[in-house]
Structures are given as C-alpha cells and as structure tokens.
C-alpha cells in the first residue's frame, strides 16, 4: 500500500438531516490512494447517505469535504465526475441493449466535429482497459450487455470507472447478486483497482468479502462513526460487535 500523507477523500464532521431524522451526525471518513477502504454498517447506518453526499446527489448540512487536501463543495453528479469520483451503484446503471463499448463510453462518446462517432478508438481503449484489469471472460466487446453474466456486467461497470482515469471509486454492494466464481472475479478486480493507484471504497454487508480485499474498515452505526479498523489488527467478531452494538472497547463506549 502506498501511504500518502494526504487522503484522496476526507470527510470531517459531516452531517446530513432529512427533516428531523439525522442520517449522518458528525461523521469523519477518509480513503487514500491505492487503498481499499470498506464501509460497513447495518441497514440505516448511513452508508448510502454518505455515498450520495460525495456523489453530489445530496448536499451536506454540516462539516466539510476535502478532495486531495483541498476543501470542495459538490453540488451535483457533474461536480463529482469532474473531481474524478465514480460511483458504481448496485443497479449498475448499464443499458442492456447497448454493447460493452457503447456502455463504457455512454455520455462521453468520442466523436468528430459533426458528432459522428469514432468507433475505432473507443473499441480499442475498451479492449485495453478490460485487458489491464484482466477481465478476460468477455468474449467480444461488441456483444450487448444483456448477454453478459452478472459478474461480467459488474466488471463492465467497474471498468468504466477506470477508463475515465478516476481517482476515487465507490462500489455499492458489488457482490450482492453474484455467485461464488463471479464474486471471486469482482473481488480480484477490486484489488486490481487499488493496485492501479485508485482510492477504492467498498460498501458491503459481506464481511468475508470485506476481510478479503479491504486494507481498512470504517464502521458506521445509526449515522455516527464507530471507528476505523486496520484489517490486520482486527477480526470479524470485533467488526460484527461494532456494527451491532457500537464501539466494543470500554474506553470508547459512547453513552
């Protein structure tokens, strides 16, 4: 792991309210370049809210967001994209009827001045990107996404993040709907993303997956920080207790 002094993304004291419901209270969060940070917590812990705040879908009510050390305000998905933040949502946001190349370049197609598509460079870069991520199971980048398996579709969605030279990728439950072999594919892909120098945030309910790929683990509970754990210095038991009851260590217990 590349220990960079400034985190790629840092949240300090971020709060978000929906009416009287406090979805996030004074939450701190960070992720560094080349690291996989897992974000775990029970339903309603605030994981999705946190993602949507960073993705620009929600605006934050308090606290501050820093990107590569600079304070930033993110007003919409376009701001997030401009910074180099890509979110791979659970429902993938792929068009089934389009092929792999068309999906990878959707909304950012290469074209000449009269809006004629330049297929050759798009197809070549798609193939190169998939190859660099060792996604070898997709037979042709010209086959419609509808004909791909769940793991392959997830790979395409993740590869889209890499293609655009993003610095930070959020993966929302990437293995939730996958079988054993496909989960393996996607987890390998997640590791490779970090190896390529991206900051990766993995949101997952599956602690086996989390312990397999994450370098550190941030636990949220009821919209508050419980703690950040080094994978090498913790175990599943401790994380489960943190998710369910809050901080396990007596001196950290909050009333």
């Amino acid at each position: 792991m590349n220990a960079t002094p400034t985190p790629t993304l840092e949240l300090r004291g971020v709060s978000k309210n929906f009416g009287s419901v406090q979805a996030l209270q004074d939450v701190d969060f960070e992720v560094r370049q080349g690291e996989v940070m897992a974000l775990v917590g029970d339903n309603g812990a605030g994981k999705s809210t946190l993602i949507k705040c960073v993705a620009g879908i929600y605006s934050i009510d308090g606290g501050q967001i820093f990107f590569e050390g600079e304070p930033v305000t993110i007003h919409g998905p376009k701001d997030a994209a401009k910074l180099g933040i890509e979110v791979v949502y659970q429902d993938l946001a792929l068009c089934d009827n389009l092929d792999v190349v068309q999906n990878m370049y959707l909304g950012r197609e290469a074209h000449d001045p009269v809006f004629r598509l330049r297929e050759a460079p798009m197809e070549r870069r798609t193939a190169e990107t998939l190859k660099s991520l060792s996604v070898t199971t997709i037979r042709s980048v010209r086959q419609p996404v509808a004909t791909l398996s769940g793991g392959q579709r997830q790979s395409v969605a993740v590869a889209r993040a890499v293609l655009w030279n993003n610095k930070l990728v959020f993966l929302d439950e990437p293995t939730a709907a996958l079988g054993v072999a496909q989960t393996r594919q996607v987890l390998d892909l997640v590791k490779r993303l970090a190896e390529q120098g991206l900051a990766v945030v993995l949101v997952s309910h599956n602690l086996v997956d989390v312990f397999e790929v994450a370098n550190r683990i941030t636990v949220l509970r009821l919209g508050r920080n419980v703690g950040v754990y080094e994978r090498s210095k913790t175990n599943e038991q401790e994380i489960v207790e943190a998710i369910t009851f809050g901080a396990p260590a007596p001196e950290e217990v909050v009333a």
Partner: protein, 414 residues
C-alpha cells in the same frame, strides 16, 4: 492464468474474421434471440412467391414501379415511428399529422390566394408544421411527464380538427404546383436511373471499405473482406435490378423519383441512428433511461428531438401521399389506415415496441411488406376484408416474435 490469457485473446482475434467463424457467431446470435432482419426477408420472399403464384401481373415491371409509389408515404412516416419506438414511446398523431402536412403543402401553393409560395417553400412549411407539432408534444411528454400515448392521442384529435377546419368549406385543395406533384409522380430518365444506381453502389462500397480500412488500421477485428464484398455486390445488385425493371415499365419507363427520396431518407435516418452521438443516446434512452440520465445525457432533449423527427417524417410522408393524388381531400388527409400501417411497418421491420432495439432500415422492409400485401391483394381481386385480416395477422406475428425473442435474449444473459 494471466500469462496464458493474451495468447488466447490473440488466437480469438485471428479466428473471428474467418467466414466460418462469422457465420457460426451469427448462428449463435440467432439462437440467442438476435435474429436481425432474417424474419422480414423471409417474409418478403414468401409474400412475393405467394402473389406470383396467384397472378402474373405481380412481377410485372409496371407493378413494381407502382408498388414504389404506393409504399413511399407510409415508409417515410414509419422512419419517424422507428425513432419514437426506439426510445420506448409511441406517437399516435402521425396519421393526422401526415394529413396536416399534406394540407399545408397544398395550402401554401394555392394559386390566387395570399399564400402562394414556390413548391420547395411549401414543402419546407409542411415539414415545419410537423416539427412544431413534434416540439409541442415532445415538450409535454418530456417536461411534464404525461404518457406519450395520451399526449399524441390528443395530438391526433387536434390535428384532425385542424384538417377539418382548413378543408371545411371546400373539402378539397388541388395541387397545381409542378414541383410538388413531381415528388411522387416524376420518373427519372433511363440513363439517369443507371447513373443513380452507379452512384449508390460506389457510395456503398466506399462506406463499407472505408470502415474496413479504418478498423484494420486501428488493429481491431475487421470482419471478413469477402463478406464485405458480397454485401456490397448484393445491395448494388438490388439497385441495378430496380433500375432495370423500372426502365422496362410501360407507359412511363424509369425509376420513380419518390423511390430515391425514400432510400435517401432511410439512409439518412439510419446514419443518424447508428453513427452519431445523438443516435447512440436514442438507443440508450430506450434501453435504460435512468442509466442514461446518470451518464450525464439530457434525456428530455433527446425525447423532444425524437418527437420532432416523428412529426417531420409524418409531414413529409403526408406530402408524398398528397403529391401522389395531386391534391388533398377530407377522405385522403391522414385518415384510413395510414396511422396503423406506419406503426405496423416499423414493428414488422423488427423494431421493438419495448424500446432500444431495431433499425431504421426496418421501416423500409416493413413498408415493403405492407405495400406488397395491399398491392397483391388488389391485383388478385380479394376484398379489403382480406387485406385487413392479412395485415393484422402479419403484425401480430411480428409482435409475437419480438416478445419471444426478447425473453430468449434475456434468458441467454444469465
């Protein structure tokens, strides 16, 4: 594993350009539900053989020339329908919008009134009418979110009312303008026809080999050069055969200008749909509108533009229909089977009602099938009852096929 992978990929790239591999890949695609234009081509051949067995007139030169004129209007309207279906919407107003286009072109060429304009200006104003109607309908659908079914149903009624209002006192407007009447009635001279066939074939070859060479340069799978040649030869051959047959038609030998207009609009529409960013986004909206929105594409704008294309194509189709009759009347303006024939043409041509699947050329194939059935049944002397029933059965078969294939394609994915 990772060291072996590049070699495998390399082998696959070399393999997949051989004729056998391409045909095998095609066969796999067909079995998983991606049949392309295969059913419609089989349908065209079957219908032609059937009517040929009933009457020798069907394969006569003059009937072929006649068929081009008969199918032109509906085919052009169907091009607009293809775009609307691709984004997963429907446009029920096209029938009477086409009538309105016919009324507009006739109205703006009327001699001895304050609104007589040259033929091409009248044509432009008719198309503008369609564009404006499309803009209004599309805006209501995109911004307010009223279902297109209802908006265009209202558009159908309003357009019909406008036609009644304008034609009301006389019930008919004749077209004297030569330019407008030539749209459907002019035939090219024999030699001009041959020149057109040559130009079409050369352009087709240039496009096909251009894309082959650019893919070769980029180091991408190119498809097989032999199959590219076969394709060019086939479509070039169709162009030459059409000119040859039309040049033998009596009493007015020659390729009808309207046939050329239809081919031009189909090629233009196909180009926009498959080669431009706009076309790509049209398919994306039909596939997954939410994903398209998240990709930063202005989905509302795409919807509005598509309904404008639909309105413009309907108006153009209406001009062709009016030109063929040298005028527009309450009976001919947009009523009858125009709406259903146009939607049927697009659907029979393989365009999915569920959005995102189909090609603009489907309008031409579907228009040809509908035109052949109507033409053949008239020639044989069957009644209109048989015509409606036959068209209905073909439409049902096309939609059933689409639904079954869709399910099969979805099943092949998981």
């Amino acid at each position: 594993m990772s060291s072996a992978a590049p070699a495998e990929v390399q082998a696959a790239v070399e393999d997949q350009d051989s004729v056998v591999a391409i045909l095998r890949a095609r066969w796999v695609a067909i079995r998983s539900g991606d049949v392309g234009s295969l059913p419609v081509i089989i349908g065209i051949i079957a219908i032609a053989l059937f009517f040929n067995s009933k009457t020798s007139l069907f394969f006569s030169a003059v009937n072929f020339q006649n068929l081009i004129g008969q199918m032109a209007g509906v085919t052009v309207i169907a091009i607009g329908v293809v775009f609307v279906l691709l984004i997963g919407e429907i446009d029920l107003s096209i029938g009477f919008v086409s009538g309105l286009g016919g009324v507009a072109v006739a109205y703006f060429q009327q001699a001895g009134t304050g609104h007589q304009y040259p033929g091409l200006v009248a044509l432009g104003l008719a198309i503008l009418t369609g564009l404006v109607i499309g803009l209004i309908q599309g805006s209501i659908i995109a911004f307010i979110g009223v279902p297109s079914f209802v908006v265009t149903l209202a558009g159908l009624l309003v357009s019909q009312g406008l036609i009644l209002q304008i034609l009301g006192t006389q019930g008919v407007i004749g077209i004297q303008n030569v330019q407008i009447n030539d749209i459907s009635n002019y035939v090219l001279s024999k030699n001009t026809g041959w020149i057109v066939a040559i130009i079409l074939t050369v352009a087709l070859a240039a496009a096909a080999f251009g894309s082959y060479v650019s893919r070769l340069r980029a180091g991408l799978p190119t498809g097989n050069l032999f199959l590219v040649v076969v394709r060019v030869a086939f479509f070039g051959g169709v162009a030459f055969a059409a000119v040859y047959v039309c040049n033998r038609a009596k009493p007015r030998p020659g390729l009808p200008l309207v046939g050329l207009i239809v081919v031009f609009l189909v090629v233009l529409g196909g180009y926009v749909a498959s080669r431009t960013t706009f076309g790509r986004h049209v398919y994306a909206v039909g596939g997954n509108a939410e994903a398209t929105r998240r990709a930063g594409i202005n989905v509302k704008l795409i919807r509005i533009l598509v309904f404008m294309i639909s309105g413009a194509m309907a108006a153009m189709g209406g001009v062709i229909l009016a030109s063929r009759l040298n005028g527009i009347s309450l009976e001919s303006a947009g009523g009858g089977t125009i709406l259903l024939d146009s939607i049927s043409a697009a659907v029979i041509g393989g365009v999915s009602l569920f959005g995102g699947r189909g090609r603009v050329s489907g309008a031409l194939f579907g228009g040809l099938i509908i035109g052949m059935v109507a033409n053949g049944i008239d020639l044989v002397g069957y009644s209109d009852a048989i015509k409606f029933i036959t068209t209905g059965v073909i439409l049902l078969a096309a939609v059933t096929l689409d639904t079954v294939l869709r399910r099969r394609q979805a099943a092949a994915g998981r």
